[in-house]
Symmetry: C2
Subunit: 258 residues, 2 copies
């Protein structure tokens, strides 16, 4: 399979997907971004051409992969007139039928991972969720996904958005807990690295136990003394105090109902 | 150093600490718990004696390590009359001077980790925070800690409680985010394992980046469309909806202020 792919978008998802597909023999023939410098940055990494002018979009690619913020997606899609190509987006919460009226062959190619620039990820570990508007398109997208990972799932838009929602808790909100912890540690004594073993073990535990069973801490023990002490330490950061209170109360309710 | 240690408590912390200290040549000469079956379970793992009768506590140990819930600690301490031994607790949020009036030599031996029964941990990676009421006791506790890890810190009670508070966010609340995610994924299609690569990568990222830089997701992009969709999916779970709203708002405020 020597697929020719155009990337619409040049952010974290586009970058990782483009580099990894290219390493599996896929031809990335163009990068489009509204910001020329961003398009150029990714095109340089790939060694391909780029444009920030939608009218100069390469017309002969097999697949157009949209890796954009959801609101940019709608705007850009309106301007594209390539009804015979295959169009796919990579978004967790955008329904597949967003393409309706703009394309005949379309689908979704959603890698369930958090991507940051300059950080390698192992695609073989990443689940890719596929949706397509025809069996032929589904086959093409599955073949493309299998270049990267064996962990493929065929799910519909409703199932995907629920998965994305779960991922926001498991990843984005988890990372925000790390951010709060980083703000709370006494920087005159410790670096954030003092929390590393704890963070890694917390993640590793749920590889083999349910999070329900893995729960530790003052809230699950209902250790009211500690909770009161912690809340008083948070008096000067009311936002964190409110989060502490809400999460502790929920943990307690979850475990007392057992 | 052939220290003789009695453990007061038989939960997760006592279990891991007792087993690991024993493996380094420390003699665990007795396990005390108010619940005889719990004391016996740990004593059997260690191959030592146990009691649930405080009057039968071994009187000739070098160190008495209290690994208890904070409220049990105060109750049990009142009943102990061994003023010449060294007494230490393992709690993050209990001040060292809780021992005042009950002992002459005392301190704190706080391992910064989440412990679950039946799950091995590598103590060499675990920071141990020490506090002592004299230089001699500090030296003894540091020597004991160095049997397990080179990551030792001498900190006071105020510094320790702040560290414990940060750990509640980095570990206990993070695990609760995993628990919510587990509840949100569609169990007819996926197991919790679909989130594993994401959870591991989220933790791994902050080994080399700050959580601030590692933040991804709809809130940091202020992708209002997605946030609204996710909130409407959470209508039937108002507790999760409230958490989603509060954390998204805080993430947004954190990153817009950059």
């Amino acid at each position: 399979m020597r697929m020719k792919v155009v990337f619409i978008g040049s952010g974290n998802v586009a970058t990782h997907l483009a580099l990894n597909l290219q390493s599996k023999g896929v031809i990335i023939c163009q990068i489009y971004s509204r910001t020329a410098a961003n398009a150029e940055a990714l095109a340089t990494k790939i060694g391909t051409s780029f444009t920030s002018d939608i009218s100069k979009l390469e017309r002969n690619a097999d697949i157009y992969i949209y890796a954009l913020k959801d609101n940019s997606f709608q705007e850009i899609l309106h301007q594209i007139d390539l009804p015979h190509a295959l169009h796919v987006h990579t978004a967790g919460s955008l329904p597949m039928n967003s393409f309706e009226g703009y394309a005949q062959k379309y689908g979704v190619f959603y890698p369930l991972q958090t991507f940051s620039i300059n950080r390698q990820v192992d695609f073989a570990q990443i689940p890719i969720c596929i949706e397509a508007n025809s069996p032929e398109t589904e086959k093409i997208l599955l073949d493309l996904a299998h270049l990267l990972t064996q962990k493929t799932y065929i799910i519909n838009s409703e199932q995907r958005i629920k998965l994305h929602l779960a991922a926001v808790f498991a990843c984005n909100f988890t990372n925000y807990m790390y951010d709060i912890a980083a703000q709370l540690i006494d920087k005159e004594i410790f670096g954030f690295d003092i929390l590393q073993a704890l963070i890694v073990e917390t993640a590793d535990k749920v590889m083999t136990m349910t999070p329900r069973k893995a729960q530790t801490g003052p809230a699950v023990r209902f250790d009211k003394n500690i909770i009161e002490k912690h809340l008083s330490l948070l008096d000067k950061t009311p936002a964190f105090k409110s989060i502490y209170q809400e999460l502790s109360e929920n943990i307690y309710q979850t475990h007392i109902e057992k």
